[in-house]
Symmetry: C2
Subunit: 266 residues, 2 copies
């Protein structure tokens, strides 16, 4: 379906703007992905937006044509609007911009197939959507199965997290669960839980990793609760040669994740 | 010296606000570091703010007392103001907040002592201040000597970069230079330049690293220019098991930096 929006007060404009807000995303079960590159990544991962919004006065682009065709074929909506209204929706002064609306994915633990990948990333109380998106991106690079978000984390469907994921939000499975549910699910089958930790930890190089390996990092300022660390199968530590006693959470997950990958493949 | 500021239109308020802007920081040669933790990190690294600004109606805190004493002893200014005016300066609604003004450091290549550390991080055209701060933090953890910023990078003295560095802006040396100057400086003495690259690269695990090792990552979207990669002594690649062909720049620097550290110490 094709539509043109000419007025700022159009309800679709209001709806699109509302999806920048977590509360509205949750209620609608939808999220935004912005930019031609990200939308092309989505398409190549088999994810077609339900709604595609772009400016009337845009340069033609074969990737944009492909997106339009895919949305048409899937019965979605293609909306054209003025550059000004599009700027109002995206908050950006770029008439070349394009935005897609996607249905949120199932984020229950039950939807995960743990034997599908040797590595899974797990974050607890991760607050920064940029860190969350970066972890998704790293997970894609590692060949991880997905990212499991424990307790109260940033929203993986926020515009910032989606952007930082560089398309990995469309390739990595995402699950959300409180700790108790997660640990119960984990112990139902094989799986090694490894924490980046300073307590009672062995050096991360050469530690006995085994697949499927769940790599757990904690909150940006508080780290992991002690009882969560105690429940892990393995606690490992990275060298800290300076003043600081911790790495950025997404960096810690990456350094540890690459060590696990090398260990499992050697 | 002690002062109390009671009016929004006080020139010091305007001055402090102006330091959030790159142009004004450059002109003044000063930068801001915000929050008690960051200021304490600075103090422990021997860096005393020239000016300390805090709210009148604050909770007492021994770390804050230590900061005040240090600023007094160094002949700096301690300024008290209302929570409202402090909020205007910091942009935050937190009357516990505290802000320090520091003189920018020398960022010339000539100020670096390359034999002081086995690893140096180098970033080219890095645009995101959060990534820049995260690289400083990673450098501190690696025991790197510092971060060298090539071509047009984000400002290491921006509030965002300083915050993301978690205090490492005070412990890591920082240099800024165009590529031509950097490569001329590098070749004056011993030093191995290693790029994270996809072109003509060897696996990053087990590559022949040697100290002092300069770990180079490129711009967030464009990567490194081909001629820069060609000028490197070693090009290494990390496994990319998914759709993406790159990692976040700060993540790539960390994964590669930790591999270099392990290699040099083995």
């Amino acid at each position: 379906m094709r539509r043109t929006i000419t007025g700022y007060s159009n309800p679709t404009v209001k709806y699109l703007r509302s999806l920048r807000d977590k509360k509205h995303r949750k209620r609608e079960g939808k999220f935004l992905a912005e930019g031609l590159r990200l939308l092309t990544d989505a398409l190549e991962s088999g994810r077609v937006p339900e709604m595609l919004v772009m400016a009337e006065a845009r340069d033609p682009h074969p990737l944009l044509d492909a997106l339009e065709d895919a949305v048409d074929a899937a019965g979605g909506e293609v909306i054209e609007t003025s550059p000004d209204i599009l700027s109002k929706i995206t908050g950006k002064d770029n008439p070349q911009s394009v935005t897609g609306v996607f249905a949120e994915f199932d984020t229950s633990l039950g939807a995960l197939n743990r034997s599908a990948a040797p590595i899974w990333l797990v974050a607890q109380a991760l607050r920064d959507p940029g860190n969350l998106g970066t972890m998704l991106r790293t997970g894609d690079a590692l060949g991880a199965g997905g990212l499991i978000l424990i307790d109260d984390c940033a929203d993986p469907f926020s515009v910032e997290a989606v952007r930082a994921s560089m398309g990995a939000v469309f390739t990595q499975a995402i699950a959300r669960a409180p700790w108790d549910e997660f640990i119960a699910w984990l112990r139902q089958a094989e799986g090694q839980l490894v924490a980046a930790s300073l307590r009672d930890a062995v050096p991360y190089r050469g530690a006995p990793y085994s697949a499927p390996c769940f790599v757990l990092v904690g909150n940006e300022s508080r780290g992991l609760p002690e009882e969560y660390e105690a429940a892990c199968d393995l606690r490992v530590t990275m060298p800290m040669r300076g003043r600081a006693d911790s790495l950025n959470a997404a960096v810690a997950a990456a350094v540890l994740g690459y060590e696990v990958l090398a260990s499992l493949e050697s």
